[in-house]
């Protein structure tokens, strides 16, 4: 059936580079969204230990305040910053903001919607995420 429909399937989401930076941003947005949802559920669960008193809270802290825990938190910081910054770009784009104006297309037909402003915003989102991760590392491992 899959062969008949010839849909690319999930592997169509992989190898995003062949369609340019915007496709990489799409892929990262999805990945960071799923990662953040997982973290959010885990965070709600871990913080619930506070209702069981100081001992339970300390036990949970010991579990998360480890090198691995700090690395995970640093990745979460990066995901959060990218998802936010790129999300704002995508949201504005979805409203038709910054996607260019319709006009007479001329060869070589460079699409106006995939303009340098968007590319710059994607790169800035990645850059901001990297900076936030560095700051996170400094705070988490600096203590």
């Amino acid at each position: 059936m899959e062969r008949q429909s010839n849909r690319e399937g999930i592997k169509g989401w992989l190898n995003p580079g062949r369609y340019g930076l915007e496709r990489i941003a799409y892929w990262l947005m999805r990945l960071t969204g799923l990662g953040l949802l997982l973290y959010f559920i885990a965070h709600v669960f871990e913080t619930s230990s506070i209702v069981n008193g100081k001992e339970a809270w300390q036990k949970m802290l010991e579990l998360t305040q480890t090198t691995e825990g700090h690395i995970i938190l640093t990745i979460v910081i990066g995901m959060c910053v990218f998802h936010t910054a790129n999300g704002i770009r995508v949201m504005l784009g979805h409203g038709g903001v910054g996607v260019g104006k319709p006009g007479r297309p001329d060869y070589p037909y460079k699409p106006a919607s995939l303009n340098s402003r968007h590319k710059l915003c994607i790169l800035a989102s990645i850059g901001l995420a990297a900076l936030a991760m560095m700051y996170g590392l400094a705070v988490l491992f600096g203590d």
Partner: protein
């Protein structure tokens, strides 16, 4: 049950995102008011929960992020596979997940904040 139009759902998706960005930023800044590991000590966290405006903010973050996160998951799942039964299960499953997470998180906020 009222069937929300997809445009209404997506407007909620964008709205919850914007709201959550502001509130999560405040939530993180609160961790920065003192040394990071100190801010996570039991006493400091309990004080946060017992400060009503902060507790309300936590509840709002919980609701906003649950809706945004599970609607995002719903979108991904709807795009992955199609079928009337499957799509119904995804839609209702995500509503149930939001309700469970909000209920569980609210329980923590109420119990820690008001010593219930």
């Amino acid at each position: 049950m009222i069937k929300l139009q997809e445009s209404v759902i997506m407007k909620i998706h964008y709205g919850t995102a914007l709201g959550a960005v502001v509130l999560v930023a405040i939530h993180i800044l609160f961790r920065m008011t003192q040394n990071f590991s100190e801010s996570l000590q039991f006493e400091s966290v309990i004080v946060n929960y017992q400060f009503l405006p902060y507790a309300i903010m936590l509840e709002l973050i919980l609701v906003l992020l649950s809706i945004h996160g599970f609607n995002g998951l719903r979108v991904i799942l709807l795009e992955l596979k199609q079928g009337v039964g499957y799509e119904k299960a995804v839609n209702y499953g995500c509503i149930a997940a939001i309700a469970i997470l909000v209920a569980y998180g609210s329980r923590t906020i109420l119990m820690a904040g008001f010593g219930m």
